[in-house]
């Protein structure tokens, strides 16, 4: 929606005519219009066909359930968010360190990278039961599962970024007798940031998916359970509006993670990278 007024002076493109302005405003509003239309059609379909809420609750029903049950769902939401954030942070730090290790030695990269790929391509649902058996407590198991899913994009993006330093700049550092540590800190790491931050944005969403999938498999009840357990429970009890409310909360969490990481990425790259200039 901020499109035309802010963009045209910077790019130097002459401001569009009023007809074109209306069109571009419509283009910006298109996803919202579609969303509202879809929800309205859903609401009408449920009411006209008298679909019972245990099969398909109407959007208004979901919203009122979300409002009335919010404080019942909140502790579960916090558990899921905590595991997601912890797994994400471990993946973010560990992934960067592992990426540095990979770029420091070709031998290490050759020896370890295939196993990182194997861990990535093995479905987490398939190995989650094993991890739950092996790990001492459930929370640790959930954390490991979420981390397993999240860390690969961080490692691979960090490794690519660290290896993408401008060749002439590498020569310049060599010319001035820079040691490996200086080259890493002043050249490779800052240059890798766009790649690394893109990896973080993917990892944020994946950490949430990993946490939820692991909760499904673990299926713990009580105060320490996350939103996935609530979804299982409401399924058994046919409390479908509450199930949808939990789903909405999971999606909202994913969207929030993505936005926070996008803003962080844009802030970090604001001075120089093309991706942060729009």
């Amino acid at each position: 929606m901020t499109g035309d007024n802010s963009r045209s002076p910077r790019t130097g493109i002459p401001k569009p005519s009023s007809g074109a302005q209306v069109l571009s405003a419509l283009a910006n509003a298109a996803p919202y219009i579609f969303g509202v239309a879809f929800l309205a059609a859903w609401e009408i379909a449920v009411r006209v066909n008298n679909i019972p809420p245990y099969l398909l609750p109407s959007p208004i029903n979901i919203v009122t359930t979300l409002y009335s049950d919010f404080f019942k769902l909140l502790p579960n939401l916090l558990v899921t968010v905590r595991i997601t954030v912890e797994a994400f942070l471990v993946a973010a730090v560990g992934g960067l360190l592992l990426g540095m290790l990979f770029t420091s030695s070709r031998w290490i990269e050759r020896s370890l990278f295939p196993y990182a790929v194997i861990m990535q391509v093995t479905p987490i649902v398939a190995i989650a039961p094993l991890i739950i058996i092996w790990a001492k407590d459930t929370e640790l198991a959930l954390l490991i599962c979420a981390w397993l899913v999240a860390f690969f994009p961080v490692v691979s993006n960090a490794a690519v970024g660290l290896n993408s330093a401008d060749r002439n700049l590498v020569d310049l550092f060599k010319l001035y007798g820079a040691n490996k540590f200086q080259t890493l800190m002043l050249l490779r790491l800052p240059g890798a940031m766009p790649y690394y931050l893109a990896g973080l944005r993917i990892a944020g969403g994946l950490a949430l998916i990993g946490a939820v999938v692991a909760e499904f498999v673990a299926g713990t009840g009580g105060a320490k359970s996350g939103l996935a357990y609530r979804i299982l429970e409401t399924g058994y009890r046919l409390e479908i509006p509450r199930m949808f409310a939990a789903l909405v909360l999971i999606s909202a969490t994913g969207i929030a993670i993505f936005f926070i990481l996008s803003i962080f990425s844009r802030f970090m790259l604001r001075h120089w990278h093309e991706s942060a200039q729009r």
Binding site: N168, D171, Y176, G177, L186, L187, H271
Partner: protein, 292 residues
């Protein structure tokens, strides 16, 4: 090869009024050269012979030396070898001046300017110029005056906090030159630095570079494929032939400094250009390339 080419040049020199005149900056004061390139070869791992038996002495007194040749003559490779960024397959490059004795290559004495500005896009102008000193563990405060002074010399003192993407191509190249000069090098190696710039920016940077060269009292080794640029800037032009790269001629451009727009339109300048062009054509013929 180098030997025969040089003697050929000597025979030529006696008949040429331009080249016989001694430049006032010529190599006389220092007995030991700053850089001595002794029958250097470069063969790449794939078997390509880039340079064969190239010898050249660069004196300690300030000189503006251009390496001129057709593409593929190894002039950039030679520059990278002088900087120590490429190894020699044969022969050696020495820095015989007394204070470097026992040292293979005095890194602090070299400034290098690439074809692109090669700035760190995430760092502002000040930090880009500060880089060589930072790598030598100098503090920002100690380096501040030196950097601001250099930025003033390249007319960028108002842009110290700007980022490279906010600057024009010519301004970025000025930053790159300031960075190369920040360690007070004895020799500035420049690898076709203005090739990617438009004509107007290029002419202006040529003037600025000459001013800097005269105030900083250093030796410049300037790689170019432009006859006009080399004749305007240099007091010495080394012409290389290609396939493999070898010395074709070692020419002196005897025109007084400071050189201005007046020189660029003078008969003297034209005569030098004709002379150097003829040598470039010879070099291309020797490399099996057709003269344009």
């Amino acid at each position: 090869m180098g030997g025969t080419a040089q003697s050929e040049w000597c025979a030529m020199a006696s008949s040429s009024p331009i080249a016989t005149a001694e430049s006032n900056r010529a190599r006389k004061a220092s007995t030991r050269p700053l850089i001595a390139i002794r029958s250097v070869d470069k063969i790449y791992p794939n078997g390509t012979e880039a340079i064969r038996g190239f010898s050249l002495e660069i004196p300690g007194t300030p000189q503006f030396l251009s390496l001129l040749g057709p593409s593929g003559c190894g002039k950039s490779t030679l520059l990278r070898m002088i900087a120590g960024l490429e190894s020699c397959s044969g022969g050696e490059i020495q820095w015989p001046a007394a204070e470097y004795e026992g040292q293979e290559r005095p890194t602090a004495e070299i400034g290098f300017v690439f074809q692109d500005a090669t700035l760190m896009p995430w760092a502002n102008v000040f930090d880009n110029v500060f880089l060589p000193l930072r790598l030598k563990r100098q503090s920002r405060a100690a380096a501040h005056d030196r950097i601001m002074d250099l930025l003033a010399q390249v007319n960028l003192e108002k842009f110290a906090k700007s980022y490279p993407r906010e600057l024009s191509g010519g301004m970025r190249m000025r930053v790159s030159i300031a960075r190369a000069l920040v360690t007070r090098p004895k020799v500035l190696l420049m690898d076709e630095p203005f090739a990617a710039l438009d004509e107007i920016t290029r002419l202006r940077l040529n003037n600025d570079l000459l001013n800097l060269w005269e105030t900083q009292k250093l030796t410049v080794v300037f790689v170019t494929h432009s006859v006009y640029e080399s004749v305007f800037l240099s007091d010495r032009i080394v012409v290389l032939a290609s396939h493999p790269g070898r010395l074709m001629a070692d020419l002196t451009i005897a025109a007084p400094y400071p050189r201005t727009e007046e020189y660029r339109t003078s008969n003297l300048y034209n005569d030098h250009c004709r002379e150097v062009s003829a040598w470039l054509h010879k070099a291309m013929a020797a490399g099996g390339q057709e003269a344009v």
